[in-house]
Amino acid sequence: MAKIMNFTGTMLRNLFSKPVTKNYPAQPAVYPERSRGHVEIDIENCITCGICKMSCPSGAIQVDKVAGTWTINRFDCVQCGYCAVKCPKKCLSIVPGYQEPMELKTEDVYTRSEPYKPPKPAAKPIVKTETKQEG
């Protein structure tokens, strides 16, 4: 009998127990804290250095230094998190919440309230350089 009836117990248990799947749209999905859903930016801390743009493996990020904008194509992004690792100001982070499907590829543009101006280097003593003309 062990040869033919050994799945019966599992089957009966499955018959009388609740489904293991969630009743999804009615019961919302819970994502753990580390879930890599999408990239978020704290734009006011961004110094528009462009390191995230250079390191993005899929080329989803565009940075405009003059206008102070940070643009991401959410549909090209692969959520690898390399930009968040590389960011020198740590203003990028990966947070839960997946991108919803859309009809067209769109880009999200984030603009700083005022374009970032690098702090002026400490005033150096001005040295007059004389260019000697050799002839």
Binding site: I4, N6, F7, T10, R34, S55, P57, Q79, C80, G81
Partner: protein, 359 residues
């Protein structure tokens, strides 16, 4: 002598989601030859080394496969680390071991489910995939991803598994061990399963060696070869023995993989017990120069990562040889002489991953 005819098989087939095409030369119902053709999904990932620097390549290599993505990333990183002489901290190596074995668990459960589906045991298929879902949840909890984990970097790992997460993992695995014992009984003792697997696709040890097979496929024929014995990641600290079988048929392949499930759980327990606190990664400075062949034991067998670097940001050559590439000739041999109805099952027994074979 019956009538010989040729039946095209694949790339679209109801039980086989892999894009492989076979021309089966059959005599009555018996297959006498199988001519393979692949190449439907070639992506050319390897040629991206010209455009992506060696750090970004980690994320590219990881996307070779959706099942063993962690091991692809790890194999590539270990290869570059070997060239750059980087010693990964012990905790980082233990974390890699834990994630590796979790990948093996979820890959083998996926395969067992597909096998059950292949011989028409639908409820067993659901059982296996229900268990696999728990492993995916553990992955999501620890790395943030369900298929692609992106936790490897050159020099270590990016995320730590904290102590309370380790406790959760061990608790889930304890429950799972009991469930594995139940399905193990069905897979190994059930009459219907036995009649589909026993004696089907026999491959002797000598033939498996002559055809260059790797992984559980070779171990089921008695070849005692397991790359984990080379002691990459933290496998040097862990006590385990390769699981082999001398029978060499589909039943033995199923048995080997089920035994490996228990073994993986045991390795995770050992790693969790032996893990010490400390750093998880070190900084990698400079560019690699040199070459190395890294060999990693994936759920499907031996995978090879060849990295050749020239001292700049961009590598000269990066090559991935996935286990299915090595197992294809063995599969063709196993198909010869089988019944036509067993062909999908025999293709499944090597655990094919054609899409990552073509990269």
């Amino acid at each position: 002598m019956g009538k010989t005819s040729i039946i095209p098989f694949g790339p679209q087939h109801p039980v086989l989601p892999e894009p492989i095409h076979l021309d089966l030369v059959i005599e009555d119902e018996k297959v006498i030859e199988a001519i393979p053709s692949i190449g439907f999904v070639h992506r050319g990932l390897e040629s991206l080394v010209d455009k992506k620097d060696f750090n970004e390549m980690t994320y590219v290599v990881e996307r070779t496969c959706g099942i063993c993505s962690f091991m692809h990333g790890m194999g590539y990183c270990e290869s570059v680390e070997h060239i750059m002489d980087i010693e990964v901290p012990l905790r980082g190596r233990f974390l890699r071991t834990i994630w590796c074995e979790m990948s093996r668990l979820h890959s083998h459960l996926l395969w067992l489910g597909l096998l059950a589906d292949g011989f028409g045991f639908e409820s067993l298929f659901y059982e296996c995939w229900r268990m696999r879902e728990k492993i995916l949840d553990l992955f999501e909890m620890t790395t943030g991803g369900r298929c692609i984990f992106s936790v490897n970097k050159i020099g270590g790992v990016l995320k730590d598994i904290e102590d309370d997460m380790i406790k959760t993992i061990l608790r889930v695995l304890n429950d799972m061990e009991k469930e594995i014992n139940t399905i193990k009984k069905t897979f190994l003792l059930d009459y219907t399963v036995e009649s589909r697997l026993k004696g089907v696709g026999y491959l002797s040890k000598q033939r498996a060696h002559d055809l260059g097979c790797a992984g559980p496929f070779a171990r089921a024929s008695g070849i005692r070869m397991d790359m984990r014995k080379r002691g990459y990641a933290a496998y040097a600290e862990i006590d385990f023995e390769p699981i082999t079988s001398d029978i060499g048929d589909s039943y033995a392949r199923c048995q080997c993989r089920i035994e490996e499930l228990t073994q993986s759980i045991d390795i995770i327990r050992q790693a969790a017990a032996k893990m010490t606190q400390g750093e998880i990664a070190v900084m990698a400075k400079g560019n690699p120069k040199g070459e190395y062949f890294m060999r990693v034991e994936q759920p499907r067998g031996e995978a090879i990562y060849y990295v050749k670097a020239n001292g700049t940001k961009f590598l000269d050559r990066m090559r991935v040889r996935t286990p299915t590439f090595a197992n294809l000739p063995g599969m063709l041999e196993a198909i010869k002489g089988a019944q036509l109805a067993d062909v999908p099952l025999l293709i499944l027994t090597i655990d094919p991953c054609i899409s990552c074979t073509e990269r």
